[in-house]
């Protein structure tokens, strides 16, 4: 079995043990399927592989745990979606994902997460709100060159909204913007 990690259109081979399998207009980054229990370390290991790749090429992460029998099966699974995945790569090229969650500390009144989301959306190419236990759980697709400005805006918002704890992480590969829409 091999694991499918990401879609890219960069022809440069990734560092071993990762390999590139051509699939129509795009290519699949594949690697050996890890064995054993999934723990936090395994998840971070996988993340760091992708972070090294995304520094140098446009890529779409593939859903964690996707495995197929061999290279032929990998190509067969991706080729039918080649055109839409190529278009999705254009959407994320040069951008990274930043995660923002806003938590209302116990005993505090809920802050205005709508204003936070509106301000940050204005600094992003695209945005996506997710369901979660917090009042705001969102992902923003931000130009690499704009990440510093985005983070500065998060700091300002934290000062303006004392009733919220704003948790900002990233930059991440564009997990939340990988599926064409």
């Amino acid at each position: 079995m091999i694991e499918l990690l990401a879609i890219t259109d960069d022809p440069v081979a990734p560092p071993p043990p990762l390999r590139l399998v051509p699939a129509g207009p795009v290519a699949v980054v594949v690697g050996p399927a890890p064995e054993g229990e999934v723990d936090a370390e395994a998840l971070w290991d996988r993340e760091s592989l992708l972070e090294d790749l995304v520094d140098e090429r446009a890529l779409l992460p593939i859903r964690y745990g996707t495995r197929v029998e061999d290279d032929a099966a990998a190509a067969a699974a991706v080729v039918p979606r080649g055109a839409e995945l190529a278009a999705a790569l254009e959407r994320v090229r040069g951008a990274v994902e930043v995660s923002v969650r806003a938590i209302t500390p116990e005993g505090e009144e809920a802050g205005d997460v709508g204003a936070v989301h509106a301000r940050l959306s204005g600094l992003a190419r695209e945005h996506a709100r997710h369901d979660g236990p917090e009042p705001l759980r969102a992902a923003y697709l931000v130009d690499r060159a704009g990440v510093d400005v985005f983070v500065a805006a998060v700091r300002e918002l934290q000062q303006e909204h004392r009733g919220l704890s704003i948790l900002c992480t990233g930059p991440w590969p564009p997990y939340s913007f990988a599926e064409p829409r």
């Binding site: 079995m1 499918l4 879609i7 399927a33 999934v38 936090a40 998840l43 971070w44 996988r46 993340e47 779409l60 992460p61 593939i62 859903r63 964690y64 745990g65 996707t66 495995r67 197929v68 099966a73 699974a77 991706v78 979606r81 995945l85 999705a88 994902e97 995660s99 969650r101 938590i103 500390p105 116990e106 997710h130 979660g132 236990p133 917090e134 759980r137 992902a139 700091r155 934290q158 000062q159 704890s165 948790l167 992480t169 990233g170 991440w172 997990y175 939340s176 990988a178 599926e179």
Partner: protein, 62 residues
């Protein structure tokens, strides 16, 4: 909070975001998804517990 426990809390905060992305994001491609649903639920449950503990542990800053 000490520097060390601050760093651990930050990594735990980021772990929530990582798991969210690995399990809920990315391109969905036909293939064998190896994570059993039961395992995923367990991960979610423990992370939600983690979110509330981080919240409580967080100092009154920045």
């Amino acid at each position: 909070m000490s520097k060390t426990s601050q760093a651990i809390a930050e990594r735990e905060v980021a772990l929530v975001d990582l798991v969210d992305r690995l399990l809920g994001g990315g391109v969905v491609i036909a293939g064998e998804i190896t994570l059993a649903v039961a395992d995923v639920d367990l991960v979610h449950v423990s992370l939600r517990a983690l979110v509330s503990s981080v919240e409580k542990a967080r100092p009154q800053e920045p």
